[in-house]
């Protein structure tokens, strides 16, 4: 996966570009290339998605199944949120697991939250049709929606990479691989 400028086939910025800022976390949990992209809305809500360089989105990868059962006692599907202040939501730290993706080649990937906050919802559409995650990773194929604490809404991005910083890392990786091959 090589980053390239987005073609403006419409002359108007996309839904994501209009309302969201893209932030990235590379090599999440030390696993090479397991990059996540956090879409931060101007109202501080964060949508957790896979970055284009994530192994699951590379050609040839087939997803067998996705599970939100992250431990014996915890399923993200059981998350219940009530009222305007979203009481009862599961609280997430940066490294909290959101889901597990099982691929047909036997590989298993864990997707992490990357931001602290209350879990609003996980995407049930990808459970029924995992291919959506690969076809539209930045929109219909999102993983989860997280609401950071009001006081932390600016500070959550301090540990994340900007679009430019992320693209530099990906280019460095490609150069490193071509140098050694």
């Amino acid at each position: 996966w090589i980053p390239s400028p987005k073609p403006l086939s419409r002359g108007v910025p996309s839904l994501v570009d209009r309302y969201f800022t893209r932030w990235y976390k590379a090599d999440v949990k030390g696993k090479p290339c397991e990059d996540h992209c956090i879409l931060q809305h101007s109202n501080r809500i964060c949508v957790i998605t896979l970055a284009g360089s994530h192994p699951v989105l590379q050609s040839g990868k087939t997803i067998k199944s996705i599970s939100y059962q992250i431990s014996t006692n915890c399923s993200r599907l059981q998350n219940k949120v009530s009222g305007k202040f979203k009481r009862g939501a599961q609280f997430l730290t940066e490294l909290a697991p959101l889901c597990k993706i099982y691929c047909s080649d036997g590989e298993e990937y864990t997707i992490s939250s990357c931001v602290r906050g209350r879990l609003m919802e996980v995407n049930e559409n990808i459970l029924h049709k995992p291919s959506i995650l690969q076809e539209k990773p930045s929109t219909e194929g999102y993983i989860a929606v997280v609401l950071p604490k009001f006081e932390e809404s600016k500070s959550i991005t301090e540990g994340l990479l900007t679009q430019k910083q992320y693209e530099e890392i990906v280019v460095k990786r490609i150069n490193a691989t071509t140098a050694t091959s």
Binding site: S9, V81, S82, K86
Partner: protein, 306 residues
């Protein structure tokens, strides 16, 4: 206070209210209290007072008056209410200020409360007959106006701005607010939207939308309002749609929907959280470039001949 002790759950102190004894709270208490209890606490004739009453201060205020009408909005950069963040105004003016400021002056009122039958986003125009609104003028010093004077006030508002226009401006009673709510929650609205598609389309590709009647859609609380609204799924009905082909990547959609439908999300799908949506119905990616409110189907306030 004595009365607060008799019906304590009706009179809870709240941060925003000046006095605990609001009109609603008193009415609620009167409905709640049992006949015998009332007679016991407040006998008629009342008992003789034990102490002399001394006046500390006399404050006079006029009861609020209500002005209603319908407004059109022609600007795509005008918020309903003032848009202020951290004391800084982000966008100039607002629908409510453009209408109410003139009323404040003429009625010599202290402040106003603006309400309307729903509202539109900053970038959405309101066309057709306009949207019903009602303004409560607090402590007005002038309350008597002839219908001619109200007509002139309407003309004054309309001359002062091309961003909004008002019609059917009239004095109404407090029941106005109830009509606003009913209009917001129960009455249908029609819209026109300019839609972009990622795949090239021909006229025949959008015709099927014209045949869909009373389409049920499920909308999760849109991401753009999720920070201040509860997370829920709302079922809404799209009563009918009419398409007008523009070019290979654009068409106009006219639609009539149930109250409370999020149109933008019905078009772009909001990450698949509104289902079905125009994109899923057409099996492509759709986005909304422009939205106009064509009508708010409320019969109130009564139309006036101009």
């Amino acid at each position: 206070m004595e009365r607060g002790a008799i019906c304590p759950d009706c009179f809870k102190p709240a941060k925003n209210k000046q006095s605990v004894f609001t009109r609603m709270a008193v009415m609620k208490a009167l409905n709640k209290i049992k006949e015998e209890d009332f007679h016991k606490q407040f006998p008629c004739p009342p008992n003789s007072p034990k102490a002399v009453c001394t006046v500390l201060e006399i404050e006079c205020a006029h009861g609020a008056v209500f002005v209603a009408g319908r407004y059109n909005k022609y600007s795509r950069s005008l918020p309903q209410t003032p848009w202020i963040i951290d004391g800084e105004r982000k966008l100039e003016s607002s629908v409510e200020e453009l209408i109410s400021d003139h009323l404040l002056t003429v009625f010599k009122a202290e402040s106003f409360n603006f309400s309307s039958s729903g509202r539109e986003d900053v970038d959405v125009r309101t066309l057709g007959n306009g949207r019903p609104f009602a303004i409560e003028l607090v402590n007005p010093h002038r309350v008597h106006f002839t219908s001619q004077e109200i007509k002139e006030l309407q003309q004054k508002i309309n001359k002062s701005s091309n961003k909004i226009q008002v019609r059917d401006l009239q004095l109404v009673t407090r029941e106005a607010i109830g009509h606003m709510k009913e209009g917001e929650e129960e009455k249908t609205k029609t819209y026109s939207a300019l839609i972009w598609t990622n795949k090239a389309i021909q006229k025949k590709d959008i015709e099927f939308l014209n045949d869909i009647k009373d389409l049920k859609i499920d909308q999760k609380t849109p991401l753009r309002v999720l920070h201040r609204r509860p997370l829920a799924v709302r079922t809404r009905v799209i009563h009918f749609m009419e398409t007008h082909y523009v070019d290979a990547h654009h068409f106009r959609l006219y639609l009539k929907t149930q109250a409370g439908t999020y149109i933008k999300e019905f078009v772009h799908g909001d990450f698949g959280r509104t289902k079905p949506n125009i994109g899923s119905l057409m099996n492509m990616t759709a986005d909304i470039l422009e939205l106009d409110v064509e009508s708010v189907d409320v019969d109130w306030p009564p139309a006036l001949d101009d």
